[in-house]
């Protein structure tokens, strides 16, 4: 039973990526071009126009955006996934965690391509590989769990309250600004800063920048805390999906 679901998730992910390639002329190239255009836009606004970046701004921005985009696209794709598959949900009995999982996996494959490119760019900018790269694995794993958790919770709720679709993008936008993705949170007053650091994304991006730019080991205690919160949220999201499944099929078509 379990193995069958793993096969379904993997093959659906392949199908998703394959279909995406077929939907445009440039196909897979968009995996790279789209985030690159996105990065160029932020660089232009914050570094060229506002002159707000420091000497390290390019790697700072690239790392922040790469880690953020992975979270953001997984949450928005995963969050809509059950809602978009309602016609299928009415026809066949499946654990619905399959649908957000497929979206998260597909976005993770794309993220890994961009990460590979990011590393090459960083090396060419003079930030060579270092021993702390080992810590990248746990950091990315924790981000994956947190991302999956947020996607599951959204995926569970959106079918019942489709209006949330209009809110999600805005919330993600605000969350990005509060997560120190495009500008440093160093300027935030000490009192407020404590609140900012409750945001798991801040912790994860900080850890990523530490490793890739400064050969710094992550703050393990903070990372462990984020991991625990993420696991709890993941369990909650999965439980929500299971509990709410009987209600999805009874929604108006």
């Amino acid at each position: 039973m379990r193995l069958h679901l793993v096969e379904l998730i993997l093959f659906s992910t392949y199908a998703e990526l394959r279909a995406e390639r077929a939907r445009s002329y440039l196909g897979l190239l968009w995996w790279i071009i789209e985030p690159a255009m996105n990065m160029a836009t932020y660089y232009f606004v914050f570094a060229v126009i506002l002159k707000s970046g420091g000497p390290d701004y390019i790697p700072f921005l690239l790392i922040g955006l790469t880690l953020w985009q992975w979270f953001k696209s997984s949450v928005s794709h995963g969050g809509y996934s059950i809602w978009q598959q309602l016609p299928l949900v009415r026809q066949v009995k499946l654990p619905l965690q399959v649908f957000p999982s497929v979206q998260i996996l597909a976005d993770t494959v794309k993220f890994l391509c961009i990460l590979g490119l990011l590393l090459v760019v960083l090396w060419s900018l003079g930030y060579p590989p270092n021993i702390t790269y080992i810590a990248l694995l746990p950091v990315l794993l924790v981000e994956l769990i947190f991302t999956a958790a947020a996607s599951y919770v959204m995926a569970a709720v959106v079918p019942l309250v489709p209006d949330l679709r209009f809110v999600i993008e805005q919330v993600l936008q605000i969350l990005m600004l509060l997560s120190g993705v495009v500008f440093s949170l160093d300027g935030v007053p000490q009192g407020l800063r404590r609140w900012f650091e409750l945001n798991p994304i801040v912790e994860l991006i900080d850890a990523g920048r530490g490793i890739l730019m400064h050969a710094q080991w992550p703050n393990w205690a903070a990372l462990g805390r984020v991991a625990l919160i993420s696991l709890a949220l993941y369990a909650l999201g999965s439980l929500l999906i299971t509990r709410l499944t009987p209600r999805y099929v009874k929604l108006p078509a």
């Binding site: 096969e7 659906s12 394959r18 066949v92 009995k93």
Partner: protein, 237 residues
């Protein structure tokens, strides 16, 4: 003599009529009771909107009853679904695998059956083309060929007995009849009498979401017509 593999007692199912806070619920099934034994072929008759399809999806376990009792022995129940989960930009081959996985097959089982699917669907070289290039008839052929690979303990059929153009209709109809009469347990929903007579060995009549009568096919159909429903001269495809 073993007990029923599926039994329902006074089952009711309610849907949300629309996405509004406090909108009333609509009872698609009000009060249905039935028993299904292994090897039985149960025909469900009733008018459009009487709750036949909802009943099938409840038996399949897709819909959970809001009241009453539903008991199911550990058996697999599957709706005969054509083109389940098909993705437009994928080839017929990939869609066959995807759809098979959704229907509960293991990947290696589907791969083993791909030659049979290709053969039965008569798609030839089109099998490796994206299904967006298929005609409706070709899609039906692929969908049917994949659906027939699944062998659940209880097969649930909603109206569809044959698909495609006239030639393929004969072939698909024959394949399905063979499956039905090979000792499988079937629940078959139809408003065509002659089909129920051909296929089933017991019948259930439901009306406005309530089970009115169940028993031998001829007796149930006679009572159904006596209550003023379409006569035996209806269109049997």
């Amino acid at each position: 003599m073993s007990g029923p593999i599926i039994s329902m007692e006074n089952v009711g199912v309610a849907f949300n009529a629309q996405l509004r806070v406090g909108s009333p619920r609509f009872w698609a099934l009000e009060d249905v009771s039935l028993e299904l034994h292994r090897g039985e072929r149960l025909g469900v008759v009733g008018r459009n909107g009487s709750g036949k399809s909802t009943l099938l999806r409840t038996i399949a376990g897709i819909i959970t009853p809001d009241r009453g009792r539903l008991m199911r022995a550990p058996v697999s129940c599957q709706l005969l679904s054509l083109a389940l989960g098909f993705v437009r930009h994928l080839s017929g081959r990939d869609n066959a695998i995807l759809s098979g996985l959704m229907l509960g097959l293991r990947r290696r089982e589907i791969i083993r059956r791909l030659p049979a699917i290709l053969d039965f669907s008569e798609l030839g070289d089109f099998f490796d083309q994206p299904i967006s290039s298929y005609s409706t008839g070709m899609l039906m052929r692929l969908g049917f060929s994949v659906a027939m690979q699944v062998e659940p303990d209880v097969l649930l059929i909603d109206e569809v007995l044959a698909v495609g153009d006239s030639e393929f209709q004969q072939k698909s109809g024959a394949a399905l009849r063979e499956r039905i009469h090979s000792g499988a347990t079937i629940v078959f929903v139809s408003h065509g009498d002659s089909q129920v007579q051909q296929v089933c060995n017991r019948a259930l009549w439901i009306e406005h979401g309530r089970s009115v009568m169940q028993g031998p096919v001829d007796a149930v159909l006679a009572a159904y017509h006596a209550a003023g429903h379409a006569g035996p001269a209806d269109a049997g495809r």
